[in-house]
Amino acid sequence: MENKIVLRDVSKTFVKRNGGAKENRVDALKDVSLEVADQEFVSIVGPSGCGKTTLLRIIDGLIPYDRGEITINGRPVGAPAQDRGMVFQTFGLLPWRTVADNVGIGLEISGMELQKRKPIVQRWIEVVGLAGFESHYPHELSGGMQQRVGLARVLAINPAVILMDEPFGALDAQTRELMQEELLRIWNQEKKTVIFITHSIDEAVYLSDRVIVMSARPGQIAEVLNVRLKRPRWNYDVRGTPEFTELRAHIWKMLRQDRAGVAAPPGD
């Protein structure tokens, strides 16, 4: 099968000038190479500040990268476009728009007229379980509901690739599990390619085909792990299986080593 997303030696350095000659350089990403197959679900875990969000924003086209190459289905990525969509940790809903108008904004941007948008918007509102809340404002919704809107907003533009930056990080444990399960159902039904960032090892293993472990300073891929747990994973105690436990322990150890490395005094 042809690879959907290909990253080759992608590097990114943030340069901050504090006036004059003094420069502050942060190597956020260094030579990151990664291939994500069509309809694959890949998670990225790594210590805070290792460049996960940066990587996702680069793939989405929100910020430029310095070196390397990124292609989606063979086409190099440029400015943000509707072949890929991003779900943000802070939801990023427009507070003056109702649920329906938030979900429809992508279609509105692409110039689709209201009458054509309506049924599409309605469909995705129903898929994420928000039927009846179409005319509510974001502040009238719980965190979990707000993130459903964030997800529906992206699904509505029907992107081949969905990028998710710690989408469930702000949710309580129960809502989070519910959302994970629903995300898997939607992913399974809609045949999307997903890159999913999380701080939760458990979440990464539960959702993914592969888990990418990143290390910090500079941000690099430390290890790629295949998760061969049987799908669908919501109808058996997948977290109780020995494979799950093993993977979790392995990733945990890796992240811990990395943390120890970072904690050591920097020798600059």
Partner: protein
Amino acid sequence: MATVPRTGILLPLKPGFWTRDRLVRTTSYILALAIWEITGRVVGPLFLAGPSQVVISLVEVTLSGELPLALLVSLQAFFVGYVFAVLVGIPLGMLMGRFESVERFFEPYISAFFVTPVSAFVPMIIIWFGIGIEARVTVVFSFCFFDVVINTFNGVRDVRYELVEPVRSLGATQRQIFQKVILPAAAPFVMSGIRLGLGRAIRGMVIAELLLATTGLGGMIVTYSAVFRTDVIFAVIIVIVVLGVGSVRILKGLESWLFPWKESSTIRSGFEGTAGSVPEG
């Protein structure tokens, strides 16, 4: 916490009418009027006319046509100056918020004028514009212009990145981002500027009439203070207060009608939700 009792015990006019808030307000008004009336009777109308006398005079100068005419004269200068300030202030504030170079260019003057009492420029305004309507319009304009500019500017500049980025991610053009995110996000701030500017414009209107041209409502105050008619002076002041409070009320109503999504996130409403516990920090 205990909920506010919704039925009063005093004057059970209609059950539910005398809420605690209403009772407090009404008591406050009655007390103020009583103190005013008594003081007026004690010191005499030369120093302070009581409210009963003021109401009588208010009716008199209204019926004679003097007050309506003065009001009309005042409102002319007010209207021209205020509308002009809003029409120039909003675009300027937006440009400053949107483009850093525009901000750099204008910011020092805006800040300087904002903190300088406009009254200090009155002599200059007389030299430049005389004492006709142009001068009064100028005073009104300079009283409220900076509130409009600064509020608009802050509203546009401080649009949160978390709002812009998701829309950009959906492929929006710069123009679409401005239309769909920055404008609506800044709109409540622009409205605040318009509302704050309104109050200041009314102040400017009266001050112009007191300090540079004896005309309009301010002119009436000057004229009648020369003959110690405190009753008429108060009548005029009441008109000014009603004008100010009334128009600001209308704008406030307009705001909550236009921005229903803003309602829930005010400190007040947050307080009600967590009443009894003081926010930490």
